[in-house]
Protein backbone atom coordinates (compact mmCIF):
# COMPACT_ATOMS: atom_id res chain seq x y z
CA UNK A 1 0.00 0.00 0.00
CA UNK A 2 2.75 2.40 0.87
CA UNK A 3 6.50 2.21 0.82
CA UNK A 4 8.75 3.04 3.70
CA UNK A 5 11.99 4.63 2.68
CA UNK A 6 14.94 2.44 3.78
CA UNK A 7 16.36 5.52 5.49
CA UNK A 8 13.18 5.86 7.60
CA UNK A 9 12.74 2.18 8.38
CA UNK A 10 14.11 2.39 11.90
CA UNK A 11 11.96 5.40 12.73
CA UNK A 12 8.92 3.65 11.30
CA UNK A 13 9.49 0.46 13.28
CA UNK A 14 10.16 2.53 16.40
CA UNK A 15 6.87 4.38 15.86
CA UNK A 16 4.91 1.13 15.44
CA UNK A 17 6.61 -0.38 18.50
CA UNK A 18 5.84 2.74 20.56
CA UNK A 19 2.21 2.65 19.48
CA UNK A 20 1.83 -1.05 20.36
CA UNK A 21 3.61 -0.56 23.68
CA UNK A 22 1.51 2.50 24.49
CA UNK A 23 -1.78 0.71 23.76
CA UNK A 24 -0.66 -2.36 25.74
CA UNK A 25 0.38 -0.27 28.74
CA UNK A 26 -2.86 1.71 28.61
CA UNK A 27 -4.84 -1.55 28.51
CA UNK A 28 -2.87 -3.28 31.29
CA UNK A 29 -2.73 -0.32 33.66
CA UNK A 30 -6.45 0.34 33.39
CA UNK A 31 -7.31 -3.23 34.46
CA UNK A 32 -8.78 -3.54 37.97
CA UNK A 33 -6.07 -6.07 38.84
CA UNK A 34 -3.37 -3.46 38.17
CA UNK A 35 -4.74 -0.89 40.64
CA UNK A 36 -2.05 -1.47 43.26
CA UNK A 37 0.69 -0.84 40.71
CA UNK A 38 -0.90 2.35 39.44
CA UNK A 39 -1.46 3.82 42.94
CA UNK A 40 1.10 6.47 43.82
CA UNK A 41 1.47 5.12 47.37
CA UNK A 42 -0.13 2.95 50.06
CA UNK A 43 -3.68 3.91 51.01
CA UNK A 44 -4.25 5.69 54.33
CA UNK A 45 -5.48 3.86 57.40
CA UNK A 46 -9.04 2.67 56.92
CA UNK A 47 -8.86 3.08 53.15
CA UNK A 48 -6.85 -0.06 52.42
CA UNK A 49 -9.81 -1.95 50.96
CA UNK A 50 -11.11 0.84 48.76
CA UNK A 51 -10.85 0.54 45.00
CA UNK A 52 -9.60 3.51 42.97
CA UNK A 53 -13.02 4.37 41.61
CA UNK A 54 -14.32 5.19 45.10
CA UNK A 55 -12.44 8.49 44.90
CA UNK A 56 -11.30 8.65 41.28
CA UNK A 57 -14.58 8.52 39.40
CA UNK A 58 -14.42 8.37 35.63
CA UNK A 59 -14.71 11.78 34.04
CA UNK A 60 -17.76 12.45 31.89
CA UNK A 61 -17.57 11.28 28.28
CA UNK A 62 -15.02 9.02 26.62
CA UNK A 63 -11.38 9.93 26.08
CA UNK A 64 -11.96 11.22 22.55
CA UNK A 65 -14.84 13.40 23.73
CA UNK A 66 -12.71 14.75 26.55
CA UNK A 67 -9.86 15.54 24.13
CA UNK A 68 -12.25 17.24 21.77
CA UNK A 69 -13.91 19.27 24.54
CA UNK A 70 -10.61 20.45 25.95
CA UNK A 71 -9.28 21.30 22.49
CA UNK A 72 -12.47 23.28 21.83
CA UNK A 73 -12.02 25.03 25.16
CA UNK A 74 -8.39 25.81 24.30
CA UNK A 75 -9.40 27.58 21.09
CA UNK A 76 -12.31 29.38 22.75
CA UNK A 77 -15.10 27.34 21.13
CA UNK A 78 -16.38 26.11 24.48
CA UNK A 79 -16.90 27.90 27.80
CA UNK A 80 -15.68 25.22 30.19
CA UNK A 81 -12.95 22.61 30.05
CA UNK A 82 -13.73 19.07 31.21
CA UNK A 83 -11.94 16.58 33.44
CA UNK A 84 -9.62 14.26 31.56
CA UNK A 85 -9.57 10.57 32.47
CA UNK A 86 -10.87 10.83 36.01
CA UNK A 87 -12.69 13.56 37.89
CA UNK A 88 -10.80 15.74 40.36
CA UNK A 89 -11.06 14.46 43.93
CA UNK A 90 -12.73 17.09 46.12
CA UNK A 91 -13.99 17.49 49.69
CA UNK A 92 -17.35 16.24 48.45
CA UNK A 93 -15.78 12.87 47.66
CA UNK A 94 -14.53 12.59 51.24
CA UNK A 95 -17.87 13.68 52.69
CA UNK A 96 -19.76 11.01 50.80
CA UNK A 97 -18.40 8.58 53.40
CA UNK A 98 -17.19 10.80 56.24
CA UNK A 99 -19.94 13.40 56.58
CA UNK A 100 -21.13 13.66 60.20
CA UNK A 101 -23.59 16.08 61.76
CA UNK A 102 -21.48 16.23 64.93
CA UNK A 103 -18.24 17.34 63.23
CA UNK A 104 -16.93 20.17 65.39
CA UNK A 105 -14.64 21.42 62.62
CA UNK A 106 -16.54 20.91 59.34
CA UNK A 107 -14.51 22.10 56.34
CA UNK A 108 -17.18 24.48 55.05
CA UNK A 109 -17.01 26.68 58.16
CA UNK A 110 -13.51 27.82 57.27
CA UNK A 111 -14.64 29.50 54.06
CA UNK A 112 -15.98 32.36 56.17
CA UNK A 113 -13.86 35.52 55.73
CA UNK A 114 -12.84 35.70 59.41
CA UNK A 115 -10.81 32.53 58.98
CA UNK A 116 -8.84 33.98 56.06
CA UNK A 117 -5.66 34.45 58.11
CA UNK A 118 -5.99 31.04 59.75
CA UNK A 119 -6.37 29.17 56.47
CA UNK A 120 -3.20 30.79 55.18
CA UNK A 121 -1.47 28.85 57.94
CA UNK A 122 -3.51 25.66 57.61
CA UNK A 123 -6.13 25.33 54.88
CA UNK A 124 -8.93 23.69 56.85
CA UNK A 125 -11.37 24.19 53.96
CA UNK A 126 -10.16 20.93 52.48
CA UNK A 127 -9.61 17.49 54.01
CA UNK A 128 -6.34 16.75 52.25
CA UNK A 129 -4.47 19.47 54.12
CA UNK A 130 -4.35 17.11 57.09
CA UNK A 131 -5.31 13.83 55.45
CA UNK A 132 -3.13 13.64 52.37
CA UNK A 133 -3.92 10.31 50.69
CA UNK A 134 -1.55 7.58 49.51
CA UNK A 135 0.86 7.91 52.44
CA UNK A 136 -0.27 4.90 54.48
CA UNK A 137 -1.12 7.03 57.53
CA UNK A 138 -4.02 8.88 59.16
CA UNK A 139 -2.94 12.46 59.61
CA UNK A 140 -0.22 14.13 57.60
CA UNK A 141 0.27 17.54 59.27
CA UNK A 142 3.86 18.59 59.91
CA UNK A 143 3.17 19.77 63.46
CA UNK A 144 0.23 19.24 65.81
CA UNK A 145 0.16 22.83 67.06
CA UNK A 146 -2.53 23.84 64.53
CA UNK A 147 -5.11 24.83 67.19
CA UNK A 148 -3.09 28.02 67.75
CA UNK A 149 -4.40 29.43 64.49
CA UNK A 150 -7.92 29.98 65.87
CA UNK A 151 -8.01 29.44 69.63
CA UNK A 152 -5.57 32.06 70.95
CA UNK A 153 -8.37 33.83 72.88
CA UNK A 154 -9.93 30.75 74.44
CA UNK A 155 -10.87 30.85 78.10
CA UNK A 156 -13.01 28.21 79.80
CA UNK A 157 -15.52 29.18 82.47
CA UNK A 158 -15.20 27.01 85.60
CA UNK A 159 -12.22 25.34 83.95
CA UNK A 160 -12.16 21.70 85.09
CA UNK A 161 -8.53 21.11 84.08
CA UNK A 162 -5.83 21.19 86.80
CA UNK A 163 -3.70 23.42 84.58
CA UNK A 164 -6.18 26.01 83.26
CA UNK A 165 -6.60 26.32 79.50
CA UNK A 166 -5.55 29.99 79.66
CA UNK A 167 -2.24 28.93 81.21
CA UNK A 168 -1.60 26.31 78.53
CA UNK A 169 -2.32 28.92 75.87
CA UNK A 170 -0.15 31.58 77.55
CA UNK A 171 2.67 29.01 77.65
CA UNK A 172 1.99 28.17 73.99
CA UNK A 173 1.57 24.49 74.82
CA UNK A 174 -0.46 23.95 71.68
CA UNK A 175 0.35 20.27 71.36
CA UNK A 176 -1.60 19.62 74.57
CA UNK A 177 -4.98 20.32 72.88
CA UNK A 178 -5.02 17.07 70.95
CA UNK A 179 -4.01 15.16 74.07
CA UNK A 180 -7.61 15.67 75.29
CA UNK A 181 -9.69 16.74 72.28
CA UNK A 182 -9.97 14.87 69.01
CA UNK A 183 -10.24 17.40 66.20
CA UNK A 184 -13.51 16.19 64.70
CA UNK A 185 -15.15 15.29 68.03
CA UNK A 186 -16.43 11.89 66.96
CA UNK A 187 -15.11 9.77 69.86
CA UNK A 188 -17.11 8.92 72.96
CA UNK A 189 -14.66 9.11 75.87
CA UNK A 190 -14.13 10.79 79.21
CA UNK A 191 -12.05 13.94 78.76
CA UNK A 192 -9.27 14.01 81.42
CA UNK A 193 -9.27 16.74 84.06
CA UNK A 194 -5.62 16.31 85.09
CA UNK A 195 -2.68 16.85 82.77
CA UNK A 196 -1.06 13.65 84.01
CA UNK A 197 -4.01 11.66 82.64
CA UNK A 198 -3.91 13.12 79.15
CA UNK A 199 -2.91 11.00 76.17
CA UNK A 200 0.89 10.96 75.74
CA UNK A 201 2.12 12.69 72.59
CA UNK A 202 3.90 9.51 71.54
CA UNK A 203 0.55 7.71 71.28
CA UNK A 204 -0.96 10.65 69.38
CA UNK A 205 1.96 10.57 66.99
CA UNK A 206 1.53 6.82 66.48
CA UNK A 207 -2.19 7.32 65.87
CA UNK A 208 -1.47 9.96 63.23
CA UNK A 209 0.92 7.57 61.55
CA UNK A 210 -1.83 4.97 61.36
CA UNK A 211 -1.48 3.17 64.69
CA UNK A 212 -3.93 2.37 67.47
CA UNK A 213 -6.61 4.94 68.29
CA UNK A 214 -5.80 6.39 71.75
CA UNK A 215 -9.22 8.09 71.97
CA UNK A 216 -10.86 4.64 71.96
CA UNK A 217 -12.94 2.73 69.50
CA UNK A 218 -16.34 4.00 70.65
CA UNK A 219 -17.39 6.40 67.91
CA UNK A 220 -20.71 8.10 67.31
CA UNK A 221 -20.48 7.73 63.55
CA UNK A 222 -18.39 5.38 61.46
CA UNK A 223 -17.39 6.10 57.90
CA UNK A 224 -19.14 4.16 55.14
CA UNK A 225 -17.50 1.09 53.66
CA UNK A 226 -17.21 0.89 49.89
CA UNK A 227 -20.27 -1.35 49.75
CA UNK A 228 -22.32 1.04 51.90
CA UNK A 229 -21.12 3.94 49.77
CA UNK A 230 -22.21 2.13 46.61
CA UNK A 231 -25.57 1.35 48.14
CA UNK A 232 -26.31 5.09 48.42
CA UNK A 233 -26.37 5.28 44.64
CA UNK A 234 -28.54 2.19 44.30
CA UNK A 235 -31.11 3.77 46.60
CA UNK A 236 -31.26 6.97 44.54
Amino acid sequence: MFKVSPLRKRQFLGGILGLVLGITMFYVFTLDAAEQYVSIGPMNTGHEELSCVTCHADAKGNLLQQIQSNMSHAVGAREHSVDFGTQDVTVDNCLQCHDRPNDRHPTYRFSEPRFSDAIKEIDATTCITCHSEHHGERVSVASINYCMNCHQDLSVENDPLDVPHVTLIANEQWTTCIQCHDFHGNHRYEVPVAMKDTIPLKLIDGYFKGGEDPFGTDKKYTALSELEWLKQFEDK
Binding site: A59, S111, D117
Partner: protein, 269 residues
Protein backbone atom coordinates in the same frame (compact mmCIF):
# COMPACT_ATOMS: atom_id res chain seq x y z
CA UNK B 1 4.54 8.62 3.08
CA UNK B 2 3.44 12.25 3.42
CA UNK B 3 0.03 11.32 2.02
CA UNK B 4 -0.35 8.51 4.51
CA UNK B 5 0.42 10.82 7.39
CA UNK B 6 -2.04 13.39 6.06
CA UNK B 7 -4.73 10.73 5.64
CA UNK B 8 -4.11 9.47 9.16
CA UNK B 9 -4.30 12.99 10.57
CA UNK B 10 -7.56 13.70 8.76
CA UNK B 11 -8.98 10.33 9.89
CA UNK B 12 -7.94 11.05 13.47
CA UNK B 13 -9.53 14.51 13.34
CA UNK B 14 -12.71 12.99 11.89
CA UNK B 15 -12.90 10.28 14.54
CA UNK B 16 -12.20 12.85 17.22
CA UNK B 17 -14.80 15.24 15.96
CA UNK B 18 -17.43 12.60 15.21
CA UNK B 19 -17.59 11.72 18.91
CA UNK B 20 -18.89 15.18 19.75
CA UNK B 21 -17.67 16.83 22.90
CA UNK B 22 -18.79 16.20 26.44
CA UNK B 23 -22.12 18.07 26.74
CA UNK B 24 -21.95 21.32 28.69
CA UNK B 25 -23.70 21.17 32.05
CA UNK B 26 -27.40 21.94 31.65
CA UNK B 27 -27.44 24.57 34.35
CA UNK B 28 -24.77 26.42 32.40
CA UNK B 29 -26.64 26.45 29.14
CA UNK B 30 -30.32 26.50 30.07
CA UNK B 31 -32.01 29.48 31.70
CA UNK B 32 -28.72 31.31 31.65
CA UNK B 33 -30.25 34.77 31.47
CA UNK B 34 -29.29 36.31 34.77
CA UNK B 35 -32.14 38.31 36.18
CA UNK B 36 -31.08 38.93 39.78
CA UNK B 37 -27.97 40.46 41.26
CA UNK B 38 -26.35 38.37 43.97
CA UNK B 39 -27.23 41.12 46.47
CA UNK B 40 -30.94 40.79 45.65
CA UNK B 41 -30.88 37.02 46.04
CA UNK B 42 -28.98 37.11 49.31
CA UNK B 43 -31.43 39.69 50.65
CA UNK B 44 -34.30 37.38 49.69
CA UNK B 45 -32.84 34.33 51.38
CA UNK B 46 -31.75 36.38 54.42
CA UNK B 47 -35.36 37.51 54.78
CA UNK B 48 -36.51 33.88 54.71
CA UNK B 49 -33.91 33.17 57.35
CA UNK B 50 -35.17 35.99 59.57
CA UNK B 51 -38.69 34.66 59.46
CA UNK B 52 -37.63 31.05 60.03
CA UNK B 53 -35.34 31.84 62.92
CA UNK B 54 -37.84 34.12 64.61
CA UNK B 55 -40.53 31.47 64.31
CA UNK B 56 -38.24 28.78 65.69
CA UNK B 57 -36.99 30.99 68.52
CA UNK B 58 -40.39 32.34 69.58
CA UNK B 59 -42.80 29.52 68.86
CA UNK B 60 -40.60 26.47 69.46
CA UNK B 61 -37.82 27.48 71.88
CA UNK B 62 -39.60 30.29 73.76
CA UNK B 63 -42.98 28.58 74.13
CA UNK B 64 -41.41 25.13 74.40
CA UNK B 65 -39.36 26.16 77.39
CA UNK B 66 -42.56 27.24 79.13
CA UNK B 67 -43.81 23.68 78.62
CA UNK B 68 -40.61 22.25 80.13
CA UNK B 69 -38.92 21.36 76.84
CA UNK B 70 -35.16 21.61 76.86
CA UNK B 71 -32.83 23.26 74.36
CA UNK B 72 -29.11 22.93 74.74
CA UNK B 73 -25.87 23.76 72.93
CA UNK B 74 -24.81 20.14 73.50
CA UNK B 75 -28.07 18.77 72.10
CA UNK B 76 -26.24 16.32 69.85
CA UNK B 77 -24.45 14.63 72.73
CA UNK B 78 -25.70 11.15 73.61
CA UNK B 79 -26.48 11.97 77.23
CA UNK B 80 -28.34 15.22 76.46
CA UNK B 81 -32.05 15.08 75.64
CA UNK B 82 -32.77 18.48 74.15
CA UNK B 83 -33.34 20.45 70.99
CA UNK B 84 -30.96 22.80 69.17
CA UNK B 85 -30.67 26.38 70.36
CA UNK B 86 -31.47 28.94 67.63
CA UNK B 87 -27.80 29.55 66.76
CA UNK B 88 -27.28 25.81 66.32
CA UNK B 89 -30.50 25.56 64.33
CA UNK B 90 -28.93 28.02 61.89
CA UNK B 91 -25.70 26.02 61.91
CA UNK B 92 -27.76 22.96 61.00
CA UNK B 93 -29.37 24.80 58.08
CA UNK B 94 -25.91 25.93 56.92
CA UNK B 95 -24.59 22.36 57.07
CA UNK B 96 -27.49 21.07 55.00
CA UNK B 97 -26.99 23.80 52.38
CA UNK B 98 -23.32 22.87 52.19
CA UNK B 99 -24.31 19.31 51.33
CA UNK B 100 -26.53 20.47 48.49
CA UNK B 101 -25.12 21.32 45.06
CA UNK B 102 -25.98 25.01 45.64
CA UNK B 103 -22.74 26.93 46.36
CA UNK B 104 -24.27 29.06 49.12
CA UNK B 105 -22.40 29.71 52.38
CA UNK B 106 -24.13 30.74 55.60
CA UNK B 107 -22.48 31.67 58.91
CA UNK B 108 -23.43 33.38 62.16
CA UNK B 109 -21.12 35.58 64.22
CA UNK B 110 -21.06 38.41 66.72
CA UNK B 111 -18.78 40.83 68.53
CA UNK B 112 -19.90 39.30 71.85
CA UNK B 113 -20.51 35.63 71.03
CA UNK B 114 -21.17 32.97 73.64
CA UNK B 115 -18.61 30.80 71.87
CA UNK B 116 -15.34 32.67 71.30
CA UNK B 117 -14.88 30.83 68.00
CA UNK B 118 -17.81 32.83 66.59
CA UNK B 119 -16.29 36.26 67.14
CA UNK B 120 -15.98 38.46 64.06
CA UNK B 121 -12.51 39.42 62.96
CA UNK B 122 -11.00 41.59 60.23
CA UNK B 123 -13.33 42.85 57.52
CA UNK B 124 -16.40 41.27 59.10
CA UNK B 125 -15.68 42.98 62.44
CA UNK B 126 -15.34 46.36 60.70
CA UNK B 127 -18.57 45.96 58.74
CA UNK B 128 -20.42 44.68 61.78
CA UNK B 129 -19.73 48.00 63.55
CA UNK B 130 -21.66 49.74 60.76
CA UNK B 131 -24.45 47.14 60.89
CA UNK B 132 -24.86 47.80 64.61
CA UNK B 133 -25.31 51.51 63.85
CA UNK B 134 -27.86 51.36 61.03
CA UNK B 135 -28.96 47.69 60.79
CA UNK B 136 -28.47 47.88 57.03
CA UNK B 137 -26.95 44.99 55.07
CA UNK B 138 -23.30 45.19 54.04
CA UNK B 139 -21.95 43.71 50.83
CA UNK B 140 -18.40 43.07 49.74
CA UNK B 141 -16.36 40.80 47.51
CA UNK B 142 -14.10 38.41 49.39
CA UNK B 143 -11.00 38.54 47.18
CA UNK B 144 -9.29 35.59 48.81
CA UNK B 145 -12.17 33.15 48.51
CA UNK B 146 -13.50 34.80 45.33
CA UNK B 147 -16.97 34.95 46.84
CA UNK B 148 -19.63 37.65 46.89
CA UNK B 149 -20.41 38.21 50.54
CA UNK B 150 -23.29 39.84 52.38
CA UNK B 151 -23.85 40.50 56.07
CA UNK B 152 -27.28 41.04 57.63
CA UNK B 153 -28.18 42.13 61.15
CA UNK B 154 -29.32 39.35 63.47
CA UNK B 155 -31.70 40.93 65.98
CA UNK B 156 -32.82 39.89 69.42
CA UNK B 157 -36.33 39.22 68.19
CA UNK B 158 -37.64 37.13 71.08
CA UNK B 159 -37.38 37.13 74.87
CA UNK B 160 -35.68 33.75 74.65
CA UNK B 161 -32.69 35.33 72.80
CA UNK B 162 -32.17 37.93 75.51
CA UNK B 163 -32.66 35.75 78.59
CA UNK B 164 -30.57 32.82 77.32
CA UNK B 165 -27.63 34.98 76.21
CA UNK B 166 -27.68 37.17 79.33
CA UNK B 167 -27.78 34.19 81.65
CA UNK B 168 -25.40 31.89 79.79
CA UNK B 169 -22.40 30.93 81.96
CA UNK B 170 -19.99 31.68 79.09
CA UNK B 171 -21.61 34.94 78.04
CA UNK B 172 -19.35 37.87 77.24
CA UNK B 173 -22.19 40.38 77.56
CA UNK B 174 -25.12 40.18 79.98
CA UNK B 175 -27.16 43.29 79.25
CA UNK B 176 -28.75 42.35 75.92
CA UNK B 177 -32.17 43.90 75.28
CA UNK B 178 -35.00 43.00 72.93
CA UNK B 179 -34.29 44.51 69.49
CA UNK B 180 -30.50 44.68 69.95
CA UNK B 181 -28.26 43.69 67.05
CA UNK B 182 -26.82 40.58 68.67
CA UNK B 183 -24.83 39.46 65.67
CA UNK B 184 -24.96 39.10 61.92
CA UNK B 185 -25.45 36.37 59.41
CA UNK B 186 -22.85 36.18 56.65
CA UNK B 187 -23.84 34.77 53.26
CA UNK B 188 -21.58 33.92 50.35
CA UNK B 189 -22.14 33.03 46.71
CA UNK B 190 -19.62 32.72 43.87
CA UNK B 191 -21.48 34.54 41.07
CA UNK B 192 -22.39 38.23 40.80
CA UNK B 193 -25.76 37.52 39.20
CA UNK B 194 -28.15 34.60 39.12
CA UNK B 195 -30.69 33.21 36.70
CA UNK B 196 -34.27 32.67 37.77
CA UNK B 197 -33.56 28.96 38.15
CA UNK B 198 -30.45 29.51 40.26
CA UNK B 199 -32.36 31.93 42.49
CA UNK B 200 -35.09 29.40 43.12
CA UNK B 201 -32.40 26.80 43.85
CA UNK B 202 -30.85 29.06 46.48
CA UNK B 203 -34.24 29.60 48.15
CA UNK B 204 -35.05 25.88 47.94
CA UNK B 205 -31.73 24.85 49.45
CA UNK B 206 -32.42 27.14 52.42
CA UNK B 207 -35.93 25.71 52.83
CA UNK B 208 -34.57 22.16 52.61
CA UNK B 209 -31.94 23.06 55.22
CA UNK B 210 -34.71 24.18 57.55
CA UNK B 211 -36.56 20.91 57.13
CA UNK B 212 -33.37 18.86 57.55
CA UNK B 213 -32.35 20.38 60.87
CA UNK B 214 -35.93 20.40 62.14
CA UNK B 215 -36.22 16.69 61.20
CA UNK B 216 -33.00 16.04 63.11
CA UNK B 217 -34.59 17.68 66.13
CA UNK B 218 -37.70 15.52 65.76
CA UNK B 219 -35.47 12.42 65.45
CA UNK B 220 -33.70 13.47 68.64
CA UNK B 221 -37.11 13.81 70.36
CA UNK B 222 -38.10 10.35 69.13
CA UNK B 223 -34.95 8.94 70.75
CA UNK B 224 -35.62 10.52 74.19
CA UNK B 225 -35.32 7.88 76.89
CA UNK B 226 -35.89 9.82 80.09
CA UNK B 227 -37.58 13.07 79.08
CA UNK B 228 -41.25 13.28 78.24
CA UNK B 229 -41.72 13.23 74.46
CA UNK B 230 -43.82 16.04 73.01
CA UNK B 231 -46.58 14.90 70.67
CA UNK B 232 -45.67 15.65 67.07
CA UNK B 233 -48.44 16.77 64.70
CA UNK B 234 -50.43 19.90 63.93
CA UNK B 235 -50.17 21.60 67.30
CA UNK B 236 -47.54 24.01 68.59
CA UNK B 237 -45.87 24.27 72.02
CA UNK B 238 -48.10 27.18 73.07
CA UNK B 239 -50.97 24.70 73.24
CA UNK B 240 -49.15 22.20 75.46
CA UNK B 241 -46.51 19.52 75.15
CA UNK B 242 -46.68 19.49 71.35
CA UNK B 243 -44.32 20.05 68.46
CA UNK B 244 -45.38 20.77 64.89
CA UNK B 245 -44.34 18.23 62.30
CA UNK B 246 -41.71 19.33 59.76
CA UNK B 247 -44.45 19.98 57.15
CA UNK B 248 -46.47 22.11 59.55
CA UNK B 249 -43.37 24.06 60.57
CA UNK B 250 -42.32 24.71 56.97
CA UNK B 251 -45.88 25.66 55.99
CA UNK B 252 -45.87 28.34 58.66
CA UNK B 253 -42.52 29.67 57.43
CA UNK B 254 -43.90 29.81 53.90
CA UNK B 255 -47.03 31.64 55.02
CA UNK B 256 -44.95 34.23 56.82
CA UNK B 257 -42.30 34.79 54.17
CA UNK B 258 -43.67 33.75 50.82
CA UNK B 259 -45.40 37.03 49.96
CA UNK B 260 -42.20 39.09 50.14
CA UNK B 261 -40.14 36.49 48.25
CA UNK B 262 -42.82 35.91 45.63
CA UNK B 263 -43.09 39.65 45.02
CA UNK B 264 -39.41 39.77 44.06
CA UNK B 265 -39.59 36.67 41.89
CA UNK B 266 -42.73 37.70 40.04
CA UNK B 267 -41.49 41.22 39.31
CA UNK B 268 -38.25 39.86 37.87
CA UNK B 269 -40.06 37.24 35.82
Amino acid sequence: MKNVINIMLVAFALVLNSCGGVPEEKSETVGSENVFSVEEVLEMVAKENDVTRTLYTKAIVGKGKLQGMKFDEDWRKDNVEAGPLPALFLRGVATSIRKSPVPLGLYLGSDFPVNAANKFEGKQADLFKQIKKDQKPQFFYDEEQKLHTAMFADLASADACVTCHNNHPQTTKSDWKLGDVMGATTWQYPKDSLSYKETVEVLSSYAKGTVDIYMEYLDEVAAFKESEKPEIGNKWPEEGNYLPSAEVFLDSVKKLSSYETMKHLVVAK
